[in-house]
């Protein structure tokens, strides 16, 4: 069934699109009969986890798939013209001209050896029929519009001379400069920091609205969708499982998958006493797609019919359409949220597990010819304490020094000055377990490694310990003989947790442990960490840019900016009543998966980029981006001091 948008005239209509990848082990049907339409000026969000086929679908529209991907069937009608049947040459007249594209990774999506001007000016000349000088003026105008400071000069910069946020702005300027009627944005903010993400999303929304262009926004982040979309298509295993207006999707989703996804996200109002809902299992292997509904193995309300017949999109209340045999989805069988486990043995005591005093880490860069040394002040005088059994969340944008702090805690890096006291042992969980495991080692060996290094017990004792650990992190013991590449992302992260726990550490440092995981798996890992925290009474240092997750799991939060802690206090207080303007800006930038709440929020994103840690300003490091900065802030550095009873903040105007 095709969902007919009633906003205005149809711009794009996709009918029964099928995309296949011919691999050695079989044909993968990445997009399996997708139909929808987009009206002129409409903003549509395509939501799904990795492997859901959302990117393959978007790339199929303009046949931008790399070999061995190919469009195997269906129609892509742009103003009634079928793009799927066009020759490559005819399609090139559409690409960039009628349909602009913004890609995920700004760091790699611009040609590194070409100046921005070269990459922008030629398409404008070709598509708008302008002369070189006029095209250049037009390019500068767009760069200015997307917020590139000093655009007339920066246009002659190379991409590598710009930050990630700046490059994504250039990508957007490129995509919009030829005045397309449709902009396809494939995860355009995933690689960016939350404050930059807020800027980019707001800008994309404003600029497409201004130009009257429609936008197709592909994302795995439901919160972002609530911020700007008119319509939402939720994809699972190559098919659209739910489609409809954004308000209805968030207020009363109808498909069990959409319902589960929304429940897995930690909420903003912060009920921390319940476990996160988690979707059991993994998405299906697209090479051997099961008959019937692809979601049924992970669905709480699946029936016999779901195993036999493939459900088609059917109308639901609120203008929605859902592909499910069970009317109402999960609401048919209400589940009560499970309470979160209480810390059993050890309550957060007075004893300190970690004590960090005046910690400083400077990296010195030296150049041979010039005398002036450049110093990166990665960590610049940090004082923190972690009590026994407590979880400290550290948040901040990339470059704020949070990962350097983690490395210092583990002793992987020598501090320039200051002290770190750790009672007991510290262990680490990395963001990407795959690259931190030896790919030629079996899982059992990986978990046993720290034990073997420390000559813990004999071989039999170690094997028993490994089995014990595997059970603790909820991993199937049959996985012990496998290699890391044979596990899913969530399973690998469980292995990483098991390895970190092997030597009974007193504190585990987790650096972005969930950011490489899909939403449905993320909740599994967060629940696991929360359980371990309650059961084992170990302390955690949880480093993340995902504020909602940190709020859910941490007892106390430290907000870092350019190597310094600018705010510190109990998690609820920091979130509900932030004292420092930077904390407030960070929280405002986090998208909330609720269109009503989103509409009511101040959507004035924080301006500018993080300053370079090479030359820090004299006064408050945040002054350049702060809405309330005064001369005092620019000359005198505020110190971290108590505000209210429990919070500390470094700001002259905290009250």
């Amino acid at each position: 069934m095709t969902y007919q948008s009633d906003v205005a005239a149809t711009l794009l209509e996709v009918r029964d699109l099928r995309t296949e990848f011919d691999t050695r082990t079989g044909t993968v049907t990445a997009v399996d009969g997708v139909s929808f339409s987009v009206a002129k000026g409409e903003r549509i969000a395509i939501v799904g986890e990795s492997g859901s086929g959302k990117s393959a679908m978007a790339m199929s529209l303009l046949r931008l798939l790399a070999h061995p991907g190919r469009v195997a069937g269906g129609q892509v009608l742009l103003d009634g013209r079928d793009l799927a049947g066009l020759s490559e040459r005819a399609l090139n007249a559409i690409r960039g001209r009628e349909v602009g594209t913004v890609f995920q990774d700004p760091m790699s999506s611009l040609d590194p050896v070409m100046k921005v001007s070269r990459q922008m000016v030629r398409p404008i000349m070709r598509n708008l029929g302008l002369g070189r000088d006029d095209a250049r003026t037009e390019a500068i105008r767009w760069l200015d519009k997307v917020g590139i400071p000093d655009a007339a000069r920066r246009i002659d910069a190379y991409p590598f001379e710009m930050s990630g946020g700046m490059r994504q702005r250039v990508m957007i300027a490129m995509a919009l400069s030829c005045r397309p009627r449709l902009v396809i944005a494939d995860e355009p903010t995933t690689a960016l920091d939350v404050t930059i993400q807020a800027q980019i999303v707001a800008m994309l929304k404003d600029l497409t609205a201004e130009a009257g262009a429609a936008m197709m926004f592909i994302t795995h982040d439901l919160g972002l969708v609530a911020r700007f979309a008119h319509n939402v298509a939720v994809m699972y295993a190559g098919r659209i499982v739910e489609f409809g207006p954004v308000g209805a999707i968030f207020a009363a989703p109808q498909h069990p998958y959409t319902q589960s996804l929304l429940r897995t996200i930690p909420s903003v109002d912060g009920l921390r006493n319940t476990r996160l809902a988690q979707i059991p299992g993994l998405p299906p292997d697209m090479r051997r797609k099961p008959a019937g509904c692809a979601f049924r193995a992970r669905c709480a309300v699946a029936t016999d019919r779901c195993a036999r017949d493939l459900p088609e999109l059917g109308p639901r209340p609120g203008g929605l359409a859902a592909a499910c045999w069970v009317e109402g989805g999960l609401t048919a069988a209400p589940v009560r949220p499970e309470p979160r486990r209480k810390p059993a043995r050890i309550a957060p005591g007075k004893r300190m597990t970690v004590e960090i005093n005046n910690l400083v880490k400077h990296f010195e860069g030296r150049s041979l010819l010039s005398k002036n040394r450049s110093v990166v002040r990665a960590v610049n005088g940090v004082n923190l304490r972690v009590r026994n059994g407590e979880t400290l969340g550290i948040v901040g944008e990339s470059g704020c020094g949070k990962s350097t702090l983690a490395r210092l805690l583990l002793g992987l890096e020598q501090a320039t000055s200051g002290e770190i006291f750790i009672e007991g042992l510290a262990q680490m969980i990395f963001q990407d377990p795959f690259s931190s495991f030896n790919p030629k080692m079996r899982i059992a060996g990986i978990i046993e490694e720290p034990l073997a290094v420390q000559r813990w017990g004999d071989r039999a004792e170690r094997a028993a310990r490994v089995e014990d650990l595997v059970a603790k992190v909820g991993l199937d013991p049959s996985h012990l003989d496998r290699y890391p590449s044979q596990l899913s992302g969530g399973q690998r992260q469980r292995v990483a947790v098991a390895r970190a726990l092997a030597l009974n550490p007193s504190v585990v440092v987790a650096d972005e442990p969930t950011s490489a995981l899909d939403v449905s798996v993320r909740a599994q890992i967060i629940n696991l960490l929360a359980d371990l925290k309650a059961d084992l009474g170990i302390s955690f240092v949880f480093i993340s840019h995902d504020l909602l997750t940190v709020r859910y799991i941490a007892d106390r939060i430290a907000v870092m900016y350019l190597g310094e802690v600018v705010e510190y206090g109990p998690a609820e207080d920091v979130f509900d009543r932030p004292v420092h303007p930077y904390t407030r800006a960070l929280i405002d930038a986090v998208p909330i998966p609720d269109p009503k709440l989103e509409a009511g929020r101040s959507n004035a994103p924080l301006k500018g980029d993080l300053p370079s840690p090479l030359d820090l300003p004299e006064g408050c490091a945040f002054a350049a981006r702060c809405p309330m900065a005064s001369d005092l802030c620019r000359t005198e550095k505020p110190v971290l001091k108590k505000h209210r009873t429990s919070q500390e903040a470094a700001c002259h105007y905290a009250n």
Partner: protein
């Protein structure tokens, strides 16, 4: 850029000085000296001693070294021991011949192998691997053939059987047509190996670049496949290719020694072989320094080109 070139030139001078020093002392370590080589077996002990005195071989080694450096800087390269001709003049005559062969080979290689490798990469990227397999097969066969063997086969086929090119005869720059016909076969022999290597390197580099995100961006902007391939992909692939061209110049110089000998071409390579055979210290020593100079200069040029191609390269 100028800074960079300047800094690199300083390194260049230091390297050359090192080579000169090494060559000087290594040759002095070999048993027997220039005087006894010159004298042969017949000269009496006294006469030999006199010769040593004349040649300054009785001076302390450091004084000899200083004198040698002084001569080198003033380009006073002395005379060959066997023919008593000025070394500078002999090398001066041989250089244009060898360089012509080398440069022509490089040009021919680049003209053929880069488009070939690029197209092969494109086909492989699109999943049509026939040209790619052909290229790999060709490269493997060529790699198995030593260049002296190829040279002999070419000589047999093109000169003796088909009679397209002369197998021997005067080599003079005065008559370009004759000169070209004389160096054509050496250039072909050297090119075959070079083309095989270079086409494969090009193919690998371009293939890797073709799956980069910015290539997809270029496609999404509506550029034709031709432009995507030659403007975006090849330009980025040019970096590793330039490095390989620079490195392969070394191989090429090795190759010239062999082909010059086989085709009796009076280039640097032949000069070197003759010098070694007649134990002509003066000549060999200078030639080694010259080769070193050539290598270092090529590396220098590669570095500069690399930097010009890739704005990200810093120092």
């Amino acid at each position: 850029m100028l800074d960079y070139a300047l800094k690199k030139s300083v390194q260049l001078v230091v390297t050359i000085f090192g080579v000169v020093t090494l060559v000087f002392f290594t040759l002095r370590l070999i048993p027997g000296d220039a005087a006894s080589a010159m004298a042969g077996d017949t000269m009496s002990g006294e006469a030999l001693e006199l010769l040593r005195e004349q040649m300054g071989l009785n001076e302390p080694i450091l004084a000899q070294y200083a004198a040698y450096l002084r001569d080198l800087v003033t380009l006073d390269l002395g005379q060959t021991i066997t023919t008593r001709l000025p070394v500078a003049e002999m090398i001066g005559k041989a250089i244009p011949v060898t360089l012509s062969i080398a440069v022509l080979t490089i040009v021919l290689t680049v003209i053929i192998s880069i488009p070939l490798g690029t197209v092969a990469a494109y086909m492989a990227h699109k999943g049509r691997a026939r040209l790619d397999n052909l290229l790999t097969g060709f490269a493997m066969i060529v790699d198995l053939m030593p260049s002296f063997w190829t040279a002999l086969v070419f000589l047999l086929l093109f000169s003796l059987t088909l009679g397209w090119f002369p197998a021997s005869g005067m080599v003079s720059l005065d008559d370009p047509a004759v000169f070209l016909s004389r160096i054509a076969l050496p250039v072909l022999v050297l090119s075959v190996t070079q083309i095989a290597t270079m086409a494969r390197i090009t193919r690998t580099s371009v293939l890797e670049i073709l799956s980069e995100d910015y290539v997809r961006t270029a496609r999404a902007m509506g550029w034709s496949e031709f432009r995507v391939l030659f403007r975006h992909a090849l330009k980025n692939a040019a970096l590793p290719i330039a490095t390989v061209i620079g490195l392969s110049f070394g191989n090429l110089l090795n190759g010239t020694v062999i082909v010059e000998f086989i085709f009796t071409i009076p280039g640097i390579g032949n000069l070197l072989i003759n010098g070694i055979n007649s134990r002509d210290y003066q000549l060999v020593q200078t030639l080694i320094v010259f080769y070193a100079l050539l290598f270092v200069t090529i590396n220098f040029i590669t570095d500069i080109v690399y930097r010009a191609l890739d704005p990200r390269v810093t120092f």
